[in-house]
Symmetry: C2
């Protein structure tokens, strides 16, 4: 039963970014998809990805296929999950899925690419393969992680206001957060360092914060060392 | 470069359990290994596992190969990570690794199997393939998870004393914890329900606790529903 030569290995990537809503009020979580130009699922949108090369590591394959299809090159891709259901593709394919968060300015690279578009993660069309399920899983992980790690950092510039940080959390969690409670929780977490800089503009000046880089990222683990 | 038919897919499993120290003082994290009877790495110990069948899902393959090699059948296997470095095996193999915790009484099943032995996770010999690295990663995840989830539950009976719970944490974290601080943290976490039962024996009676099943396990996610 173990004719494993009939099983092929692919990599796919979920890239989350933020897009400000046209109303100017809040932001949405968005991700880039690639329109398929061949069977199976020709014409449907799919996650960026491709086949694993025999002479490349998994993370290298994820970075290569992401760059080839979208032009995006995040500094760090984290392995999300391996999807291998028998019926997920007409032929047997195990996909190792990676993910990353990119800031809105980094996301520009994908806008110029042919057959690539950014979609609101909350209202996707039917995607190729099991890619709707993969995005759902990535969103679930994102919502879980935002609670206990600095994952929102990946969507923010080096310095940011508490209102900007709250907007990231609101976009990921899909709900409004009370500003006073949010400020209290962040201050209690002791992971942010207030700077001497303020954001000025049409509103009253807001202090800029940065993440404390002495607090180790709990997400990466021994594999990335 | 994408001759993916040269890449094979395997599954492996890390099963953690506890073994009381001979001194009667504390416990150690242990895992079952299988002695290899063929090349590559003949004679070395390896994680339980085998090839993915073309007609079986990843989690089914993990459960099947674990049962075939060790006789163990945990109620739930969680996917840990996909290991696919080019040089991890003489031929190109991507291994999807699953893990589970089993209570000491469940671990008995593996003791009767030929070529299977339990090893102290803190003092392993050189294992086949990259299996030392895989165990290190699983231990890192275990130590991280024990802090924010009910993962220790998998190593405990339905009802347990706070001293027994603390012993699990001490074995996983590899350090002693202050009993009074530990009790306070557990009581503050509001995840345990005190029962009306007490453990009696040579010491003074100790109250038995159980986990609050209304608190959802954060680990499983949408894929297990």
């Amino acid at each position: 039963m173990t004719r494993t030569s009939d099983i092929r290995v692919a990599v796919s990537t979920v890239i989350f970014s933020l897009r400000r809503l046209a109303s100017g009020d809040g932001a949405a979580v968005v991700l880039p998809l690639v329109k398929r130009t061949r069977d199976p699922f020709e014409g449907l949108w799919a996650l960026p990805g491709g086949w694993l090369g025999t002479d490349e590591n998994l993370d290298a394959a994820a970075a290569r296929t992401l760059a080839e299809t979208t032009g995006l090159a995040p500094s760090y891709l984290e392995q999300l999950y391996a999807f291998g259901a028998v019926d997920r593709s007409p032929s047997r394919v195990v996909s190792i899925v990676y993910w990353a968060l990119v800031r809105p300015d980094e996301a520009e690279a994908a806008h110029a690419q042919h057959n690539v578009a950014w979609f609101d993660a909350a209202s996707l069309p039917t995607l190729a393969f099991d890619h709707n399920q993969i995005v759902d899983y990535a969103l679930w992980r994102l919502r879980n992680k935002v609670g206990y790690s600095r994952i929102a950092h990946g969507l923010l510039p080096a310095e940011f206001t508490l209102a900007e940080l709250r907007e990231v959390y609101e976009a990921i969690l899909g709900k409004r957060l009370d500003p006073a409670n949010f400020r209290r929780q962040v201050e209690n977490s002791a992971t942010l360092i207030p700077t001497d800089q303020f954001r000025t503009g049409s509103h009253r000046p807001a202090r800029l914060y940065r993440y404390d880089h002495e607090v180790e990222l709990a997400d990466r683990g021994p594999l990335s060392r």
